[in-house]
């Protein structure tokens, strides 16, 4: 049992609980809701076990679906994000990201912001597309994606700053 594993398990449980108890009840203007539970996938260690991340994201998504009666939409969206994460790292931090030590929960730089923005957009677009499940709702889907993305990012950044481990 090393501490990274423990921290991640704790994060998994806490973010899920927070999402279900608090953020699922937040409906700004009736249809804009934040989904900061994906912070688990975003903050997962860069060089961590990839299969573990994929399995954990699926589990997280399924639990969310269980609580919101949404079939498998959260599970699919979380899986997509978990799978595309290395490519997003490559895009945001450059090719040699694996050799750098990337710490996401630190001061917000443009690279970190790009990464979080892209992750949230990918997750939300998949989620809302599958939730509507009809191309005639595409415009609504795009608008909801845009507005919810802004909301989620705001809350994600607040959470990152709140739980930032202050070593200095």
């Amino acid at each position: 049992m090393n501490s990274t594993l423990l921290v991640n398990i704790l994060r998994f449980i806490l973010l899920l609980a927070l999402q279900i108890i608090v953020f699922n009840n937040m409906n700004f203007l009736g249809y804009i809701s934040p989904f900061p539970y994906i912070l688990f996938i975003i903050l997962y260690p860069v060089n961590g076990n990839k299969a573990g991340l994929i399995a954990a994201s699926f589990a997280m998504g399924i639990i969310m679906d269980l609580f919101s009666n949404s079939g498998g939409t959260h599970a699919t969206a979380s899986l997509m994000l978990a799978y595309l994460r290395p490519y997003l790292f490559k895009f945001a931090f450059g090719l040699s990201y694996e050799y750098q030590t990337i710490r996401l929960n630190d001061v917000l730089t443009p690279q970190r912001f790009t990464f979080i923005l892209l992750s949230v957009i990918i997750h939300h677009f998949t989620l809302f597309l599958l939730e509507a499940f009809q191309l005639s709702f595409l415009l609504d889907t795009l608008i909801t994606t845009l507005l919810s993305t802004l909301f989620t990012i705001l809350i994600c950044i607040i959470i990152i700053y709140l739980i930032k481990p202050n070593k200095r």
Partner: protein, 274 residues
Amino acid sequence: MQQIFNFIFKNSNRILFLLLLSISLALTVQSHSFHRSKIISSANFLSGGVYEKLNSFDEYLNLKTENEALAQENALLRNALFKIEDTATVKQIDSVKGVKPTDIIVSKVIRNSYNVYENYLTLNSGAKDGVKPDMGVVNSLGIVGIIENTSTNYSTVISILNKRSQINAKIKKSNHFGSLNWNGKSTGFVQLTDLPRLAMIKIGDTIVTGGQSVIFPENINIGTISKIYRDKQTNFYTLDVKLFNDMTNLGHVYIIKRKDRQEIINLEKREKDE
């Protein structure tokens, strides 16, 4: 053989991803296409239990409005009772089915959603209390939805704010009927489609449940007409109906159990077979 193993080891992440993706996509498609066959629903002991705990905190905040609603309903029922006490209208007791054609189960909404296209409610009574799929759910103001899934202690309801919900409804004064849908736009309005152009309607008319439904009894309130659209191609109206119910604020509800439902279904089935 060795190469196959190598291939699997090399692409293990991708294979895991594709496997899980197909599972979750199958669940998504399944939840959108079939009626009443959801595998993942909140009628289970885990999410039902959590929502019940959360609701017990929530309840205190709404005690006052809930009490007012109950008092108003009491007054209404008292009023109806005084009217019935006229001896000329004593009802004959139906000896086959008993006195009442319907039974009522009181229940409470422990989870309400209204911000997606397919909204569901979770109630805190289930198979143990006699709840079965396809029973109607109403409250004192009007209809709420139809039971979809049940577990031992909890059940889920397709809200009328759900794209897949379809309920038979009619104009209260003229008996012309259509079907009630939701277009996913506003939580205060639903749409009544397929209403014949012959119907004489005007804005403000009351819409109630129709007699064709085997789920709801006739004449339960739904809402009032707020907008009328005429379709040029077909001979039908589409109406915007303003709901009596505030679907974003639901407390106690009643589940309607129709005793003659099975009989009607069997009869119609026999007719179809012949």
